[in-house]
């Protein structure tokens, strides 16, 4: 009697452990699958020309995505310049200033914005920027990506600054250091690595966004010379190429996907390096 009961309990334990393990593996499995597939399909087309040449017209083989690669970096730069200061300052306000009631609304707003489908951002910026300017532009694309970054950066900044122990704030204020200097030179300085980490993760997140760029940056087969003109970006280029009927463009799309994947992976690895450093200085 006792023995069967124990065996039944042991069985349940093993079964549930196996189930949780299986689910954990299921998280990693798709990543491996994506990476394997993108790598095998794209690596053949990643060559020097891919990074240095403009797209070739239909029918001509070869060419590259140089304009889209540069365009992605330009768009990320614009998004960072527009979105990061707003996000960080907003996060500082949430953590260090503000009233409970106001903070609740701001936080609620930021969380809702985080859940807004990215294509909605594209439509909003299209109506607010593209229509008045009467043209698709790098500006519009940067604004769309920047707006997606704001709530992300704001919430991480807030979380990171909340982790800074209150004792440091008190110590600084007790020295007669004004509140704003305490916030800037004690609190933010203590949390700066976390803020950088959050900003980089937000950049990695928007680097692959396609939908918000379709109505704003539009894409461009040539170099962009002015920020008020349409601009190419890797995800948009992948989108255009992947739905084309041409075999060569499909190969280019895979190569673009691989480069984009590596870019995002690179940002994540950088973040890992930063956070590891943070833990080592703490201990």
């Amino acid at each position: 009697m006792d023995g069967t009961y124990h065996r039944w309990r042991k069985f349940k334990n093993t079964f549930m452990q196996a189930l949780t393990c299986l689910c954990a593996v299921l998280v990693v499995f798709p990543l491996g699958l994506i990476f394997y597939h993108v790598l095998t399909s794209g690596v053949g087309s990643v060559n020097w020309a891919f990074f240095t040449q403009l797209p070739k017209p239909v029918g001509e083989l070869g060419g590259g995505m140089a304009n889209a690669i540069v365009g992605t970096f330009e768009l990320l730069g614009l998004a960072a310049v527009l979105g990061v200061p707003v996000g960080i300052l907003g996060g500082i306000f949430l953590s260090e200033y503000g009233t409970t009631r106001l903070n609740w609304w701001v936080r609620f707003g930021a969380d809702v914005l985080n859940g807004v489908p990215s294509i909605t951002w594209g439509m909003v910026v299209w109506a607010l920027v593209v229509v008045p300017m009467k043209t698709f532009s790098a500006w519009a694309g940067g604004i769309a990506l920047g707006m997606i970054m704001v709530p992300l950066v704001m919430r991480t900044t807030e979380e990171v600054l909340r982790l800074v122990p209150g004792g440091y704030r008190e110590a600084s204020l007790a020295l007669g250091i004004p509140h704003w200097r305490t916030v800037l030179q004690i609190v933010v300085r203590t949390g700066v690595k976390g803020i950088v980490t959050g900003t980089l993760l937000a950049l990695a997140r928007v680097a692959g966004e396609t939908a918000p760029l379709l109505f704003t940056a539009l894409g461009n087969q040539f170099w962009n010379h002015r920020l008020s003109d349409p601009i190419a970006a890797i995800p948009v280029q992948i989108f255009d190429y992947a739905r084309s009927p041409y075999e060569d463009w499909h190969r280019q799309a895979w190569a673009g996907a691989l480069v984009l994947l590596l870019l995002v992976a690179l940002i994540n690895v950088t973040v890992r390096g930063l956070t590891r450093d943070r833990f080592s200085t703490r201990s």
Binding site: Y168, E170, A171, S172, L175, G176, Q185, T190, T281
Partner: protein, 282 residues
């Protein structure tokens, strides 16, 4: 010495009143109390934490605040440099004078009060992003009170006063977090001393330290009282008896008894005080 470093900031002190330094000197000469509180009440929301406390704390002496947890002693201490105002619901009634000057006057900024009344906390809290040297000079730098070579001079003085100089003089640029717990607490004392306050408030400064580090802090407090007015909150009755000249016993927000330490510990006039110092409750 630069004038900014030697004189307390006066930005918000009205010109009609005597300068801070003058008031302070006069106070010390005539044995006027360093701090005098009158009918001080503190509320957090609707909860009254201090009840009409009146007390005169003498200059250049160590005054110990004792009492069971929740008696309002920390709140009293934090009211002395307006740190309790960090709690948004905090409200105070009554008056606190620092060498004759009302520190809650309408035109006095808390920032100015806190430069004159320094504070050391229970948990040592050196800034983790800064070196030992930067921790000591941070108040001077961020308050714009000194710069350049004056900084290192003030830093050395503060570290010597805090009895830490010999231990850290060869590694001033090491991170502050590399110090031991007791050293970190003395670093915090040096940091508070560097801005040259007139009063030093200590909130159980040794309660997280081992006996040896505690002894060093106590020796340091006895040294510092030659130049500073020290108010220390402690849970440790032996510590209060060892280092303080005056002792105040708080219970449930009331100041029960205040007098010379020897009297409080040997022949208190109130029954509650006697029960507490003999360990019968609290």
């Amino acid at each position: 010495m630069t004038s900014g470093a030697t004189e307390p900031p006066k930005l918000t002190v009205p010109p009609a009143k005597p300068s801070n330094q003058g008031a302070a000197d006069a106070g010390r000469d005539t044995l006027e109390p360093a701090i005098s509180a009158r009918d001080l009440s503190i509320f957090f929301g609707t909860h009254q934490v201090l009840k009409r406390v009146s007390i005169d704390i003498p200059a250049r002496a160590v005054t110990a605040i004792i009492g069971p947890s929740g008696c309002g002693k920390s709140t009293f201490l934090r009211a002395l440099n307006r740190m309790h105002e960090l709690v948004p619901t905090a409200r105070m009634e009554g008056q606190i004078r620092l060498f004759g000057e009302d520190i809650y006057a309408r035109d006095i900024e808390p920032v100015v009060v806190r430069r004159r009344v320094g504070m050391v906390f229970q948990k040592s809290n050196p800034f983790p992003t800064m070196s030992i040297a930067d921790n000591v000079t941070v108040g001077l730098r961020l308050n714009g009170m000194a710069r350049g070579s004056m900084l290192s001079e003030h830093m050395e003085k503060a570290l010597i006063m805090a009895a830490l100089w010999d231990e850290v003089k060869d590694r001033l640029n090491a991170p502050a977090t590399s110090l031991s717990g007791g050293q970190q607490q003395r670093l915090c004392i040096a940091r508070a001393l560097a801005v040259r306050p007139e009063v030093l408030l200590m909130d159980e400064p040794a309660s997280a330290l081992d006996p040896l580090a505690t002894a060093r802090i106590e020796d340091l407090i006895l040294e510092l009282k030659r130049d500073y007015t020290i108010v220390i909150v402690t849970h440790n009755m032996q510590q209060a008896a060892r280092i303080s000249d005056q002792t105040a016993f708080f219970y449930l927000g009331d100041l029960i008894e205040f007098g010379s330490t020897s009297k409080i510990f040997t022949s208190p006039s109130k029954r509650q005080t006697e029960d507490y110092v003999t360990g019968r409750f609290g």
